[in-house]
């Protein structure tokens, strides 16, 4: 089906079902309960899951297949966001104008940066991409381009916003937030209450989810294509490829541009969900984050980057919100002295210390599961299979992770 092998089709369908039912899956605890702290099924976070999923899928096409480690992909994320917000400012709040432009412009930037950076490989390539991204960050953070032209381009540290004084030539009187063709507003949410549970169905989330499924499908096709094979060959031994008389650079450049366009699309979607583009999303920490996502989930696997993106975003948004008050309420059943002791013990790992927890998890994964979360899943599946002797599917243990 869809021109993909059965296993890939199955994977695609599993991902589709997971994204479709995400509002249920991510809100397993009743709204008022103490565990509601761990619910992740609110629109903003669900949107982030799929948007950063797209970002990581695209990054994986470059890093997972060719092995070129780019430390500057966040630059394309920012470019995509700026493109979409500029379309809001010039035309109107319809996201249909901005998203294609985001993909095209980030593709152009990726072509320019990739053309230069890919002259080198290994650490030098990484440093070049990092340098370009930091340059772009500095330019947007101080709006140097805007200052040069005497107008606002990125609006510096405040971030690019839509003002009522902007031209917005196509604007209608009812438009005040991003929408799709006037059919549905991105922030419109339908909340379903079932007893104590509450589930949010957000239009923006489902829009992003559909786009993520499309890009996921595209990634599968790239992975399985002769082009994908060529990229894998670049990763395994580029020198030998060159000696056989094959010029590998166009392939690597194509992969770079494609992943740049993925990043631009992700950035565009961020602005489509929330009409503001800040320079911070181009900073090197954001570039590093997508590397973490990909490695954590499993570089070179199809589903890994999406899992990694979800994992990191969950930590960033859920663990960082656990403060001392919440801790005290958790340990309230203990005697006073022990309660305070427990709070002191747990305190460094939650709230603003969420980076520490994430770092520890990252270390554990890299040490014990070098193939990322996907490898963990495979090991569990293998355990399960060993017990169940009848099920001896030929794939799984012997084929590489995907």
């Amino acid at each position: 089906m869809f021109g993909t092998a059965k296993r890939d089709t199955a994977l695609l369908i599993i991902v589709a079902i997971l994204t479709l039912f995400a509002p249920f899956l991510l809100n397993p605890f009743p709204a008022g309960s103490a565990m509601a702290q761990f619910n992740a099924g609110y629109p903003d976070l669900m949107q982030r899951f799929v948007i950063f999923g797209i970002f990581a899928i695209g990054f994986n096409i470059l890093f997972g297949l060719t092995g070129y480690l780019s430390f500057g992909h966040a630059a394309f994320l920012g470019v995509g966001s700026y493109a979409v917000v500029w379309m809001y400012k010039l035309l109107d709040y319809n996201i249909i104008w901005g998203l294609p432009l985001a993909i095209v412009i980030s593709g152009v930037f990726a072509l320019m940066i990739g053309f230069i950076s890919l002259r080198r490989s290994g650490i030098y390539f990484s440093i070049l991409t990092l340098a370009f991204a930091q340059m772009m960050f500095a330019i947007s953070y101080s709006d140097l381009l805007g200052r040069f032209f005497g107008t606002t381009i990125t609006n510096g540290e405040t971030g690019l916003q839509v003002y009522r004084s902007d031209p917005q030539v196509l604007i209608d009187s009812w438009e005040s937030v991003p929408h799709l063709l006037g059919l549905v507003e991105m922030r419109s949410t339908y909340t379903m209450r079932l007893g104590d549970w509450s589930f949010d169905f957000n239009a923006g989330y489902y829009f992003c989810a559909v786009i993520m499924l499309l890009t996921f499908y595209l990634a599968i096709r790239i992975f399985r294509s002769p082009f994908g094979m060529m990229l894998r060959a670049v990763k395994s031994n580029q020198q030998r490829m060159n000696y056989t008389g094959l010029n590998t650079r166009p392939y690597a450049l194509a992969a770079f541009v494609i992943s740049g366009m993925y990043a631009g699309l992700a950035g565009g979607l961020m602005a489509a969900m929330d009409p503001l583009a800040g320079a911070e999303r181009m900073q090197w920490t954001a570039s590093g984050e997508v590397v973490l996502m990909t490695i954590l989930g499993g570089a070179g696997t199809l589903i890994g980057p999406v899992l990694g993106a979800g994992f990191i975003k969950y930590f960033e948004n859920i663990f960082s919100k656990i403060n001392d008050n919440v801790l005290h309420s958790w340990f309230a059943f203990l005697p006073d002295g022990i309660e305070d002791f427990m709070v002191v013990i747990v305190h460094p790992f939650v709230g603003k210390g969420w980076h520490l927890t994430l770092g520890l998890m990252f270390m554990l994964v890299v040490i014990f599961l070098p193939g990322g979360l996907v490898e963990g899943g495979q090991r569990i599946a293998r355990l399960f299979r060993r017990k169940n002797a009848r099920n001896d599917a030929p794939d799984g243990s012997k084929t590489p992770a995907e």
């Binding site: 609110y42 101080s142 405040t158 009409p275 911070e280 999303r281």
Partner: protein, 448 residues
């Protein structure tokens, strides 16, 4: 994978079941539509306190959080009531707000617009926050204010000093109690003229973002109006930690005053660098060299140590003020945390009380009703003397403090002393003043 036997029929069956499962609950829904975002339904109401807990302004943020926690206690009738006893409006009874107990959630802005918006969104969407308060950067305040306008909740700004927050970027759902760069300039200029003379040559170092720009513009305009000359203005990146390379050229520029339009860690570092270069002991044009820091804070002064001695700047509020409101607040803050509150803590505390009071007076949590209650609201007893929340731009007008680094501090909190309380009339301006022009409040948005 057990999906290897996937058939077309199987897929259709599965999707039909899934579709039915999804559609079913639509019949079970009881729609609670109340006309505005996050209308409190139970016996509690939730505030969202969005402050920097990491990054360059983390100190300020943590102090804001202390004050917000204190404000919630006072609203719920715990503790000694603090400023609720001195507040001129008596709508608050210490039984929560309209009988609902106040609870709060916190978020970390990281002093980044993106992160701040994400955490504010989480508080609004997940925790049902009805009001967002806090923050310590104008860039963040402008970004979060825009978000609150779209989401339909009230934004009670924390420490934000840029003219743009209630100027070019003002929003109908956003309110600022803190003073702004224009007021700093208007309050400082006469004091500077008196202390340092009217024929000074000023050199500006400016943090390169919205607050720095408007601060520099305001200072230059105010000082030039009384005869000073602006020699140069150099923009420094917000992320800088070493300002030596920016200080060196000051000596050769012929300037005799250095204006540091820096805040937080930036100001601590640039002031320390300037003192290391021994600027304060130099004589230029036959006059003693001076340094001015337009926006002061206790936490910055503590960070800069004895380098601030004798340096003049301005503040929104200081714990040393002797009016009843200030004394009550400083007392309850000191009893709870063992330290005096900073001016960012004060503004967040006051903003929280003002919001609660406006809800009581409006009789509704609806953002539009609350905004109406806050607009052109006159009050007193909150530490700044008689104050007005101007309806035209949602900016508070009140007295401004001109401060000076204490020459001989008696304890670790005695870092700044009050030089002058500049009366409100001197710092007032028209809503369409050129430094504030170009914005539009728009319509108040109640959300859903």
């Amino acid at each position: 994978m057990s999906f290897s036997k996937l058939t077309r029929r199987g897929l259709i069956k599965t999707s039909a079941v899934a579709g039915a499962g999804l559609a079913l609950p639509t019949y079970l829904r009881a729609d609670a539509h109340s006309g505005f975002t996050n209308a409190p339904t139970g016996d509690t109401v939730t505030f969202g306190f969005n402050v920097p807990q990491t990054g360059p302004y983390a100190e300020e943020g943590l102090d804001e959080l202390r004050a917000q926690e204190l404000a919630v206690q006072h609203l719920n009738g715990e503790g000694d009531g603090g400023m609720m006893n001195t507040f001129s409006s008596k709508a608050l009874k210490g039984n929560g707000i309209m009988g609902k107990k106040v609870t709060f959630v916190t978020g970390d802005t990281q002093t980044k617009s993106d992160a701040a918006r994400a955490s504010a969104k989480a508080m609004i969407e997940k925790d049902g926050a009805i009001m967002i308060n806090g923050g310590s950067s104008s860039g963040v305040a402008v970004a979060v204010q825009g978000l609150c306008q779209e989401a339909g909740v009230i934004f009670m700004a924390g420490l934000t000093h840029s003219n743009d927050t209630t100027g070019k970027d003002k929003k109908a759902n956003g309110f600022r109690h803190f003073f702004n760069a224009y007021m700093s300039g208007a309050a400082l200029a006469p004091v500077l003229a008196k202390e340092y003379g009217k024929d000074r040559r000023a050199y500006h170092l400016t943090a390169d973002y919205t607050w720095g720009w408007t601060q520099q513009e305001s200072m230059a305009a105010a000082t030039e109006a009384m005869g000073w000359e602006t020699v140069n203005n150099v923009l420094t990146p917000l992320a800088s930690t070493d300002f030596s390379s920016y200080i060196a050229p000051v000596l050769n520029s012929g300037a005799d005053v250095l204006v540091l339009n820096h805040y937080g860690g930036n100001m601590v570092n640039s002031l320390t660098n300037a003192v290391q270069f021994d600027l304060l002991n130099k004589e230029v044009n036959g006059k003693k060299f001076e340094i001015v820091v337009p926006l002061y804070s206790e936490l910055m002064a503590a960070g800069a140590g004895k380098n601030v001695q004798g340096v003049i700047g301005s503040m929104n509020w200081n714990w040393q003020l002797q009016d009843e409101g200030s004394k009550a607040f400083t007392k309850s803050f000191g009893e709870k945390y063992g330290r005096p509150p900073s001016n960012s803590a004060h503004t967040c505390y006051v903003q929280t009380l003002l919001y609660a009071d406006a809800v009581e007076r409006a009789g509704s949590f609806n953002p539009c009703a609350v905004a109406e209650a806050l607009e052109d609201f006159d009050f007193d007893g909150m530490g700044n003397g008689p104050t007005t929340y101007r309806g035209a731009d949602h900016q508070c007008f009140k007295d401004v403090l001109v401060m000076k680094g204490t020459e001989n501090p008696s304890n670790e909190y005695d870092t700044l002393e009050i030089v002058e309380v500049t009366p409100r009339a001197q710092v007032e301006y028209e809503p369409d003043h050129p430094m504030f022009a170009g914005g539009d409040l728009g319509e108040c948005n109640p959300g859903a």
